[in-house]
């Protein structure tokens, strides 16, 4: 599964979805690729996981995956998170695909909350589990008005909310789901990845698909598409950074770190992307 041609060509049943559902979701994916950043409505199926637990990402993956695929599933950057393990087992059993925690071996990476630190390449597909696809939900509650705003690219309210954030807090406080303009047209929510991962989406060589099961929306960033965080010209976009923080396992200070409180007070830091951290330790050990 690597090209749009594959998407159109191969159709098959699997244990979770029938061929009709696969076709319907692929149609939504193709529309999403054709109109980058546009939220395509789709008939979200009941999945063997509860809505809110990755059912959107799972449906996208199940519509793509075949026995030849190699699948990596992460949750908060961790291949061994309970949700990641369960989703991976389900995908493998239903499709006959093989598993990996190595990004470079994978054909499909399904993720919640992170983009792998190790860069992905053309031909791979990143599938993101999205809790709330609507970037403007926080500034407008009326759905019809939201549709109008997207249709007319009227994003003044989002700019105002960024203005207000800076005026009231002196900085941009939004952490996950930072609003970005895709291909100069639609604003998307980069949910729920941290600001740290946002620059990785800009002109990425791979296809990124966002699946929201509960909200019944799929959107896409095709390869080599511009993804620009909404930010004022004179206020640079900044990613999370804590001075002096290093991973307690691999010593990195150039990866996305998460903190753990220590019993004796204070906190320690560790890479959020566990497989990347492990690879780096091996690399260091070998030197």
């Amino acid at each position: 599964m690597s090209t749009v041609r594959d998407l159109v060509a191969t159709r098959r049943d699997n244990a979770v979805m029938d061929a009709g559902a696969v076709r319907a979701i692929r149609r939504a994916i193709l529309t999403a690729i054709a109109v980058p950043g546009y939220q395509v409505p789709f008939g979200s199926r009941e999945m063997p996981v509860a809505r809110g637990w990755g059912s959107g990402g799972l449906q996208v993956t199940m519509a793509l995956v075949g026995s030849a695929d190699v699948v990596k599933v992460i949750d908060q950057g961790d291949d061994e998170g309970v949700n990641a393990v369960n989703l991976r087992r389900l995908i493998l059993r239903a499709s006959g695909a093989t598993e990996t925690d190595d990004v470079s071996e994978s054909t499909i990476v399904q993720t919640r909350h992170r983009i792998p630190e190790a860069g992905m390449v053309d031909g791979q597909i990143l599938v993101l589990q999205v809790p709330e696809p609507e970037p403007l939900r926080g500034v407008e509650r009326d759905t019809r008005e939201l549709e109008r705003m997207h249709a007319e690219a009227d994003y003044a309210k989002m700019w105002v909310s960024l203005y207000e954030d800076r005026v009231r807090n002196g900085m941009i406080t939004r952490t996950t789901g930072y609003p970005c303009v895709v291909a100069g047209r639609y604003v998307i929510s980069t949910t729920p990845i941290p600001r740290w991962d946002v620059p990785a989406l800009h002109r990425a060589p791979y296809l990124a698909l966002f699946g929201a099961g509960r909200a019944k929306r799929i959107y896409a960033i095709p390869p080599d598409t511009t993804v620009e965080p909404m930010t004022f010209e004179d206020v640079p976009f900044e990613v999370e950074f804590t001075p002096g923080a290093r991973c307690r396992h691999c010593g990195s200070d150039d990866s996305y770190l998460v903190s753990t409180p220590r019993e004796e007070g204070g906190e320690t830091w560790a890479c959020s992307d566990t497989s990347w951290c492990r690879a780096r330790r091996h690399q260091r050990g070998a030197q």
Binding site: A156, V167, F232, D234
Partner: protein, 284 residues
């Protein structure tokens, strides 16, 4: 009707009419001031406004007077593009010299027009402002809609406008909901002027304010109309507002213009019986 035609009308309303329900010659003939109603007895059609024409030049303010149900709101909504009138044409000269035919525009085009060229100051500040966000943020709404993307420049422009409309700058970063009624109205004026529109519609701009506050806001509006060279349409049932702000005015009753002339003259010497009643009531 006699038109005192300005050199280049910034806003031109020609033969505007709007009816709710089917219309033919009899519905028009059997409604209006002569019939004493805007609702057609036999068909139930409401002729909210009919055959309304006027011009407004830059730097000029025109008043629209009439009681509730006289059709002044219908005229206002047609100019604002909120309703598509049954007949007639509304044109606006943009600041860049191009002409916008409001009665032929799509909703998206009208929204763009309302960002750049046409502003409305509502009677209730809550209709024109988001009370949850700051005074500066409300102005930023207009500026970002017009493409401003520089934070410092937006702050500077907002401060300039608020200074001009006499809102203390130390309130710029407070939510508008914490402001008094008079100050909200000043913020609304600042927002309306943000992108230097060519036309501004003032809908009962001081109704609901204390008399002393209203006088201050009226002084401010008059100064702004002169300074910015705006073409203004002022809708009010209050003659003191019309007298203070406008040079010319039209009187509406049952959906028709019954009298049209210079404000001073019309208030001194109203010709139409309805105008006489209105003026008489106001002067009493």
């Amino acid at each position: 009707m006699t038109n005192i035609t300005p050199v280049a009308p910034t806003l031109a309303v020609v033969g505007l009419g709007h009816a709710y329900g089917g219309i033919d010659d009899t519905t028009i003939a059997e409604t209006g001031p002569a019939a004493g109603t805007s609702k057609h007895a036999r068909t139930g059609t409401v002729v909210a406004a009919w055959d309304v024409s006027f011009d407004v030049a830059g730097g000029e303010a025109l008043g629209v007077i009439g009681e509730s149900g006289s059709g002044k709101s219908t005229v206002m909504k047609s100019i604002a593009g909120d309703i598509m009138p049954t007949t007639g044409r509304v044109t606006l000269q943009r600041g860049d010299g191009t002409t916008a035919v409001i009665t032929e525009m799509s909703p998206a085009e009208i929204r763009a027009l309302r960002v750049n060229d046409l502003s409305i100051v509502h009677q209730n500040p809550a209709d024109g402002l988001d009370l949850r966000i700051t005074a500066g943020g409300n102005i930023a709404d207009r500026l970002t809609a017009a493409g401003w993307r520089n934070f410092a420049a937006i702050r500077e422009r907002a401060a300039e406008l608020l200074t001009r409309t006499e809102v203390p700058l130390d309130r710029m970063d407070d939510p508008v909901g914490s402001f008094s009624g008079g100050m909200r109205q000043r913020v609304q004026l600042a927002k309306a002027l943000a992108n230097t529109p060519s036309v501004v519609l003032l809908d009962e701009p001081t109704t609901g304010l204390d008399a002393s506050i209203a006088a201050g806001v009226l002084d401010l509006i008059r100064g702004l109309l002169d300074e910015f060279g705006l073409a203004a349409v002022v809708v009010s049932h209050d003659f003191s507002v019309i007298e203070m702000l406008t040079q010319r005015c039209v009187v509406m009753q049952h959906g028709r213009v019954v009298e049209h002339g210079l404000t001073d003259q019309l208030l001194e010497d109203p010709a139409h019986p309805y105008s006489q009643r209105l003026v008489g009531a106001a002067r009493a």
